[in-house]
């Protein structure tokens, strides 16, 4: 079974440019999450989708960040315009309620560097 996949794995962009990160959750997982770790800090929650609906977006830092989940399948996280402080690693995760509880599985991350 394929895990959570993220693209691109690494991205270097200039300040002011736009970057779009993509996440494909584990098949059948209705819950999709975005997390971020910036240098020297803990992994922080950004937002949570249930199918195509945003359940909780309390962690989104500002309106330069836009997350979408088309048709309840894959998700994109767009940063526009990117700022230096947006550099870090963006993790996507997914889960499915059931007999295993709510185990949340992570992707490898998209490493973003803004210069």
């Amino acid at each position: 079974e394929a895990g959570v996949t993220q693209f691109p794995s690494h991205s270097v962009i200039e300040k002011g440019q736009t970057v779009t990160l993509r996440c494909d959750p584990i098949s059948g997982h209705d819950n999709l999450y975005w997390y971020r770790r910036v240098m020297g800090k803990e992994i922080k929650f950004l937002l949570h989708f249930v199918k195509e609906s945003k359940q909780d977006e309390s962690g989104m830092p500002n309106n330069r960040f836009l997350a979408e989940r088309t048709g309840g399948t894959y998700s994109t996280l767009k940063v526009q315009p990117a700022e230096l402080e947006d550099s870090g690693v963006y993790f996507c995760a997914s889960s499915q309620w059931g007999t295993s509880g709510n185990t949340i599985y992570f992707g490898e991350g998209s490493w973003l560097t803004v210069v």
Binding site: V4, N31, Y33, Y35, E42, I43, K44, F45, H48, Q55, D56, S58, G59, F91, S95, G101, N102, T103, I104, Y105, F106, G107, E108, G109
Partner: protein, 110 residues
């Protein structure tokens, strides 16, 4: 606001030298406490979920325990391949989002 504190920040062990990692938490209505392993350049890899005080889970050389205020991850007779950062996280009554601690970097030397 949920909080998770892990200690120590780093741990150097000789192969075979057992030790424990601590995860102290403050959460409103604990729904689950999670342990993850993270290798450099990789995403967090799920290890365990604990749901209630007194619960214990084991996987190979790892054993996780839970009390009302903290969790321990015991590493028994570690091997070099156990070297990684171990992350603790909780979900509370506020929702499904994970609140992470800073992690413990474990280095096991042969």
């Amino acid at each position: 606001e949920d909080q998770v504190t892990q200690s120590p920040e780093a741990l150097r062990l000789q192969e075979g030298e057992s030790s424990s990692l601590n995860c102290s938490y403050t959460v409103s209505g604990l729904r689950g406490l999670f342990w993850y392993r993270q290798d450099p350049g990789k995403g967090p890899e799920f290890l365990f979920t604990l749901y209630s005080a007194g619960e214990e889970k084991e996987k190979e050389r790892l054993k996780a325990t839970l009390t009302k205020k903290e969790s321990f991850l015991h590493i028994t007779a570690p091997k070099p391949e156990d070297s990684a950062t171990y992350l603790c996280a909780v979900t509370g009554a506020a929702g499904n989002k994970l609140t992470f601690g800073g992690g413990t970097r474990v280095l096991v030397k042969p």
